[in-house]
Subunit: 133 residues, 2 copies
DNA sequence: ATTCTTGCAAACCCTTTGCAAGCTA
DNA sequence: TAGCTTGCAAAGGGTTTGCAAGAAT
């Protein structure tokens, strides 16, 4: 019942490589398309499985698009952080919010809650997209 | 090409009513199930369409679950607030966070974002459930 | 009477899974 | 060799859509 060993394969490296180059959120389908463009032949199911493993190991951040509910993945930096996402073009900025962390902890404590965690996402229209109007 | 007129129907009222009573995020499927329990016979597709309209008109907030990518809806409260949810028993407390509002606005501004909105949910284990261990 | 709405079922999209063949350790 | 991985295709789960019948204005 222990976790199965993790083998290194051409496909997993490929997925990892694409994720490294594109420093942005990208869906499994996007990733798969990009692999095909490069001539790398990797099955879609394999891409999903690779991403699943990466997410389990905490090597990528996962979040859900508001439209279509696609899951998007991105290599994640270490440390707890939140995201500022452009709802027009999807551009993402990692932001930190010490005040938010403190607030969440305090709110939890005030109400007698333990093991407090929080989810924060900030949405807006980025400068580039605003200018485009 | 102007938007079609919006008619008031029994089904839409029913959806709206459920949304009013349950002051929490709820998926279309949940909502549909609750309607059936009450004896209200509303088609699933209709529930989806009603929620779509409500979201378009800005009458409900929409966000995506991390698992399964379900969309969850909640009546937009007039007063903006967040929730502290017990992940054990589901108890929910409405909380306010002026500091969080301020932080979100500032973060957005710093990065040149406009029309900034945010989603914040705090999870934990409530006092009662903690005691139960 | 007109035109929006509803319901049902089929269609869609993203994602997961079963299974035989391929590859890594 | 043993057993994780891959690919394909089929299955799954949520959401959307086409179309004829039903309501609201």
């Amino acid at each position: 019942m222990s976790a199965p060993a993790r083998r290194s394969t051409k496909q997993r490296s490929a997925v990892s490589a694409v994720l490294d180059e594109a420093d942005a959120f990208m869906s499994a389908q996007d990733l798969h398309a990009r692999l095909r463009e490069r001539g790398e032949n990797v099955g879609l199911a394999t891409v999903y499985r690779a991403l699943q493993v990466l997410a389990e190991d905490g090597d990528v951040d996962v979040l859900r698009t508001d439209d279509g509910g696609e899951a998007v993945y991105r290599r994640c930096s270490t440390g707890h952080h939140h995201h500022l996402v452009c709802r027009r073009c999807g551009a993402t900025v990692e932001v930190e919010g010490p005040q938010v962390e403190a607030w969440a902890r305090r709110i939890g404590a005030e109400h007698g809650f333990t093991a407090v965690q929080h989810v924060v996402e900030v949405f807006g229209v980025c400068a580039a997209c605003s200018a485009r109007d």
